[in-house]
């Protein structure tokens, strides 16, 4: 009976590659299916205290916005921003309104890219004290300061609209009596650097930012921050269409209730919200996962999330359709409504979901629904691993032979794993040297880094050629076991931190790892060729270049190269400055796993040698000797 079951299992396992590929295709199909409204759910408000959109907004002071906008237009120039005059003006305006306002200086030095240069920046902050509360809780409304002289390329990204809106709201909020939490109006310079400086200083941990950022202590503080909203609007009436950003550093998402509150309130006021600039179903889900996988924040709000502060970003999309006063009023009313909702919160955001995927702006896939596809992919890898265990590590036909030519089974594979890890470490550590060397040759850092990484990748690829003995010594089955297990475990571990990254890297890597040895029927050369191309495409660098090429509409190789340069550099720098894991995970987990799969290809191509004759004979003798007593028994 057991024999029958055993045979069935063995027969089943012998098809594991086919089954594995079926499972992976199934996982992709499942994921695509999830983006269909039939298989996901409509968002609902779980925290009833929020009751979004219930209040009647009182904001009607269109003149506040228009007046401030006129002033901002005059003041908001690159020159004023760099000299800090604009921030000073903001501070004074907020003080006039009656806020506890201050400016905060910070310096940013990043020798790797900036060299000796130190950048000076100034944040402007105003705290509107909740009238009847005791400074224990706060909410943050922020906008980055980005001046652009008209006509400049970055003119579209300027934030004069949100600056004016925030000042107008500050004036309006200050006169309202119903706030339960302080509001911190935050204007930060230099994108993430300024915000990072303020956040760390507010939490009293600015020493952690050294040596790259040094920042002064804020003179005024408020209590624990409950939520944050980042605004980026050019012009004051571009609120018919806006874009919602959710993904934070490392793909951390804000509580779904917060997202939902913003979506509902925008809906109430007729503001069309978009997610990732797309509303076609499978594409949007894929983009959500991609944003998550990149590990870089979708907008500045993403920096709040590592501090356990739920936050979303709103940015203006396209040009203002009209500059009517009703559109301007809408801008104020939307933020007011969000604020009224957030002020209702009795506790921190804790209900609803922290892990979800958004297939549409008002629909969600819960963690219970989106993890099974990854589980299915991991199952395919597990089947391959089990198969190599079941087949055993004997040599060829004589599967019972306890010892093989290369010494133990574990030793060579372990050595290979350590070497693979070393390549990962190299890729992690080396970029600093690449960039410095590139600087010496006057090559810009991105190019230097990408070339360097390509070199590391090439070295990793050449590794089997350089140390053929290490490959040959490994038992192919054991190597396969190691490759599948390490990939499966890495993906499983990463999925807990960043699901998008785990799933999206599983899609190319898992099939390649399964099929690295290639189908048996093809001729050896063809098998090797196909395997090598597939593996090269699935390598981290290959994926980066391929991804950039695809994102650029598969038009220009040059633009794909520049994009990849930027992507690699951004990943590295964000890893250092924002604490994003993506670059590190790519180096320390995915590259070694890829290398093991790559070695598998060679192990298959180079059959284990009938080792030198004498040694082989000796081995045979010992083996027959050792076999005899076994037979006796």
């Amino acid at each position: 009976m057991t024999g029958k079951i055993e045979t069935t299992i063995k027969v089943f396992l012998s098809y594991h590659r086919f089954v594995g590929i079926l499972l992976i295709v199934g996982a992709i199909g499942y994921m695509v299916m999830l983006s269909d409204p039939q298989f996901n759910n409509r968002c609902y408000i779980s925290e009833k205290a929020l009751s979004p959109g219930v209040v009647e907004e009182q904001f009607n002071q269109v003149n506040f916005i228009n007046d401030y906008y006129a002033d901002v237009q005059k003041m908001y120039t690159v020159k004023n921003l760099e000299s800090g005059k604009f921030q000073k003006w903001l501070e004074e305006e907020m003080q006039k309104i009656g806020l506890d306002a201050y400016t905060q200086n910070f310096t940013f030095s990043y020798p790797l890219i900036l060299g000796e240069k130190k950048l000076q920046g100034i944040n402007a902050v105003g705290i509107s004290r909740a009238y009847r509360a005791a400074r224990t809780e706060a909410l943050v409304l922020m906008t980055p300061l980005r001046a652009a002289d008209s006509g400049a390329a970055s003119h579209e990204r300027r934030t004069d609209g949100s600056v004016a809106l925030m000042l107008a709201l500050a004036k309006f909020f200050r006169r309202q009596t119903h706030w339960a939490k302080d509001t911190i109006f935050l204007f930060t310079e230099m994108e993430t650097v300024g915000l990072q400086a303020w956040l760390y200083a507010h939490h009293g941990e600015s020493s952690l930012l050294k040596p790259s950022i040094s920042v002064s202590d804020p003179p005024h503080r408020s209590g624990s921050i409950q939520a944050a909203v980042a605004l980026e609007f050019a012009g004051v009436s571009g609120w018919q269409r806006a874009r919602l950003h959710v993904e934070g550093v490392n793909g951390v998402l804000p509580n779904l209730d917060l997202v939902n509150t913003v979506v509902r309130i925008a809906g109430k006021h007729g503001v069309r919200l978009e997610l990732h600039g797309s509303d076609r179903q499978p594409a949007l889900l894929l983009r959500s996962l991609l944003y998550q996988a990149s590990g870089s924040p979708a907008s500045l709000h993403g920096l709040f999330l590592p501090f356990d502060i739920p936050a979303v970003g709103l940015s203006g999309e396209g040009r203002a359709a009209s500059s009517s006063s009703s559109a301007t009023r809408t801008a104020g009313a939307v933020v007011e409504a969000i604020w009224r909702s957030l002020n209702n919160l009795q506790e921190r955001f804790h209900q609803s979901f922290f892990f979800y995927a958004l297939p549409a702006i008002d629909r969600y896939v819960s963690i219970g629904d989106y993890t099974p596809p990854l589980g299915v992919v991991l199952l395919a890898l597990a089947l391959a691993a089990i198969d190599s265990l079941v087949v055993g590590f004997g040599d060829g036909d004589a599967s019972t032979k306890p010892k093989s030519a290369g010494g133990g089974v574990v030793g060579p594979v372990a050595r290979l794993c350590v070497m693979a890890g070393c390549f990962g470490l190299l890729a992690l550590v080396a970029p600093a040297y690449f960039i410095r060397t590139a600087a010496a040759f006057r090559i810009d850092p991105g190019a230097g880094m990408l070339i360097g990484l390509l070199a590391v990748q090439a070295m990793a690829a050449a590794f089997p050629l350089m140390f053929p003995n290490m490959i040959v010594a490994c038992h192919p089955g054991a190597l396969r076991l190691a490759a599948c297990l390490s990939l499966g475990l890495s993906l499983g571990a990463v999925s807990l931190v960043n699901f998008g990254l785990a799933f999206l890297s599983a899609l190319p890597l898992a099939p390649v790892c399964l099929l690295a040895a290639g189908p048996d029927r093809l001729p050896a050369v063809l098998r090797f060729g196909i395997g090598a191309v597939a593996l090269a495409a699935a390598s981290p660098i290959g994926l980066l270049l391929g991804g950039c090429y695809a994102a650029g509409g598969a038009r220009s190789l040059v633009s794909a190269w520049t994009c990849a340069e930027y992507g690699a550099l951004q990943g590295y720098v964000e890893g250092q400055l924002l604490g994003s894991f993506t670059y590190r995970l790519n180096c320390l987990m995915l590259l070694p796993c890829w290398l093991l799969a790559w070695c598998q290809l060679f192990a298959r191509a180079w059959p284990r040698p009938a080792a030198p004759a004498a040694a082989a004979a000796a081995a045979e003798e010992t083996s027959t000797e050792s076999e005899e007593p076994a037979k006796d028994k």
Binding site: Q95, K96, I97, G98, D100, A101, R129, Y131, R132, A133, A134, R135, T136, E137, R174, R175, Q176, T177, H203, G204, E205, P219, H220, R221, G223, S224, P306, F307, D308, Q346, E347, R348, H350, Q351
Partner: protein, 587 residues
């Protein structure tokens, strides 16, 4: 004739008897409202209702129940409370909002956010054992009396007894009797009309006449800071009770920043009837406190006061005697109007008080946290000794070895004296008292770290995700006499401004004892997942356990009737002894 004489005699006798029994102690009541413009559009309202009661035998009041005593003005419930639980002095305050001392100056009675109760309980002789139970019952009684849910204060896990920061304000009865201090603070206790109503019922004129007429709850609770206070203490003559209500109203919100303001414009009430029971030394008064130096309060006040006094520390007091004004001038009501167009002056540019304290949280994550208390001495030449009291709830385990005192820029500093008591889980909070000298023009930074404990599931409050409150730090010091104390600081040793005006010699500046409270902090404490699946799991497990428990009993246990007699026999002492000795018995 004989009969008449007898009648007279009897009457005199009766009169004597009655007089003896209803021996009315001398009582006194006066009331006052202190008004002040704090600058930047903030108006200060300080209601004081002061009761005194002369007691010949002080010991009698504290120890015996005062059941056969007659009370005219003094609230009997308060006196009974003190007598019943051997409380010689207590201070209860329920406050909402933060007293912004950096901008407004020191308050005469600053209070922390939430509820604070501190009391001195008699603890000599046999009473020393009863301090705990007395405190517990006292808290319950106070809690019920003022409709405040402060029962949690009764447990030792909240209440402490600081060594230096709190001293008795009243005279100790007979000087040397031992007393024990209990202090408890609950940060998230709100204040509402339901607290104000029982409080205002203690007033002799209620809200019907006198200053009490101005107690418009709707307006007073809609303020940046408001505080309901009860201060009870013994004096050299007997007992003193001060019922106080303090409110700070922001005119930017209350009347959209209009330059003119008056009592009526902010409270929508005016005094139309004098409280005829306010027969005390100072009667019924409306006082306006103005700053004359260093940055004078330039608001024009109407009408002209009947009297004005110059006080210490650059303060001027305008005195409006309500009884007189309402009687003499035959007015319908009395209102005081202020006129001064103001502009917002940032806190940094204000003439700041000599010592300013700020407390904030540092650190991220739900495992560790930290606190910084920054105290700056802004006095140009004088070093100030401050006493810092820090109470840390046991849920946040304070790490004493991380305590750091730095002066100015990274200069390690040492406390003159340290009193520290480690917390004991579920039993008492950690208590840290430091006596530190802060040199002039420097700021002291006291910081420490704590670990956040994951408490038992049944110890979480209903709003577990709200977080835990860290009570405010209490900073006590004696402010130098020459420093410019901003309004409305008053010596805490006097009962009220009324007493101050009675003593005209108070024009020479004298050092003032100040106790100030920093912000309270909300700490994000670790908590398990209290979400629906968790609840469902708990519930399902409970139902299964209940259901399967009895099924298991029925299925697996055999019911049998046993003979009770041998058991009885064994149960007796002799039986058990015999049983024990059985093995030794010779067969």
């Amino acid at each position: 004739m004989y009969m008449t004489n007898l009648f007279v005699l009897v009457s005199i006798f009766l009169l004597f008897v009655v007089n003896n029994c209803v021996c009315v102690d001398e009582e006194d009541f006066s009331e006052e409202l202190v008004l002040s413009d704090l600058g930047n559009g903030y108006s200060y309202f300080g209601f004081n209702f002061v009761f005194t009661r002369q007691v010949n035998d002080f010991n009698f009041v504290i120890k015996a129940t005062s059941s056969h005593k007659h009370f005219n003005l003094f609230p009997r419930s308060i006196s009974d409370l003190a007598a019943r639980f051997r409380v010689s002095e207590f201070h209860l305050t329920l406050s909402q909002g933060y007293w912004n001392h950096a901008a407004w100056g020191y308050a005469s009675q600053p209070q922390p956010q939430g509820a604070e109760l501190w009391a001195w309980l008699g603890s000599h002789g046999s009473e020393s054992d009863k301090v705990e139970s007395n405190w517990r019952e006292f808290v319950s009684a106070v809690s019920g009396m003022f409709c405040a849910s402060v029962n949690a204060m009764a447990t030792g896990a909240v209440a402490t007894s600081p060594a230096w920061s709190y001293r008795p304000e009243g005279l100790s009865q007979r000087g040397r009797e031992p007393r024990t201090l209990r202090l408890a603070q609950i940060v998230n206790q709100g204040v509402c009309t339901e607290n104000l109503t029982p409080w205002s019922r203690l007033l002799p004129c209620k809200k019907q006449a006198g200053i009490g007429q101005l107690l418009n709850a709707v307006k007073l609770h809609d303020s940046a800071y408001n505080s309901v206070q009860v201060h009870f203490k013994p004096t050299h003559r007997g007992l003193a009770l001060r019922l106080a209500f303090t409110a700070v109203i922001d005119r930017r919100i209350a009347q959209l920043g209009k330059a003119d303001w008056s009592v009526h414009s902010l409270l929508s009430r005016a005094v139309s009837l004098p409280c005829s029971l306010a027969t005390g030394q100072t009667g019924s008064r409306l006082l306006v406190l103005k700053r004359t130096a260093p940055d004078p309060d330039q608001s024009a006040v109407q009408p002209e006061p009947l009297q004005s006094y110059n006080l210490a520390n650059g303060l001027k007091l305008l005195d409006y005697n309500l009884t007189k004004m309402l009687d003499d001038e035959a007015k319908d009501s009395v209102d005081v109007k202020f006129n001064f167009p103001w502009t917002w002056v940032p806190v940094e540019r204000l003439q700041s008080p000599p010592v300013v304290a700020q407390k904030y949280q540092i650190g991220t994550g739900s495992e560790m946290g930290g606190v910084v208390v920054a105290i700056s001495n802004r006095h140009p030449s004088q070093a100030i000794n401050v006493i810092i009291l820090e109470i840390v709830p046991w849920q946040l385990r304070m790490l004493f070895h991380t305590l750091e005192l730095t002066l100015g820029d990274n200069l390690a500093h040492k406390a003159n004296k340290v009193h520290y008591q480690q917390s004991v889980d579920r039993v008492r909070p950690a208590k840290l008292e430091l006596l530190v000298t802060v040199p002039p023009r420097t700021s002291l930074r006291v910081s420490y770290r704590f670990t956040k404990q994951l408490v038992r599931w049944n110890e979480f409050p209903p709003d577990a995700n709200h977080g835990l409150y860290l009570p405010p730090t209490v900073v006590s010091f004696v402010a130098p006499s020459d420093s410019s104390l901003r309004l409305p600081v008053l010596p805490q040793t006097v009962l009220s401004i009324a007493e101050l005006t009675a003593n005209r010699n108070a024009t020479t500046p004298e050092p003032i004892f100040v106790r100030l409270y920093t912000e309270a902090l909300l700490v994000n404490a670790p908590k398990p997942d209290f979400s629906m699946p968790y609840n469902v799991l708990c519930l399902v497990c409970t139902v299964l356990a209940i259901g399967s428990g009895f099924m298991h009993n029925v299925a697996c246990k055999l019911a049998s009737v046993s003979n009770p007699n041998p058991a009885d026999k064994d149960a007796t002492l002799m039986g058990r002894l015999k049983k024990m000795l059985t093995p030794w018995r010779r067969q």
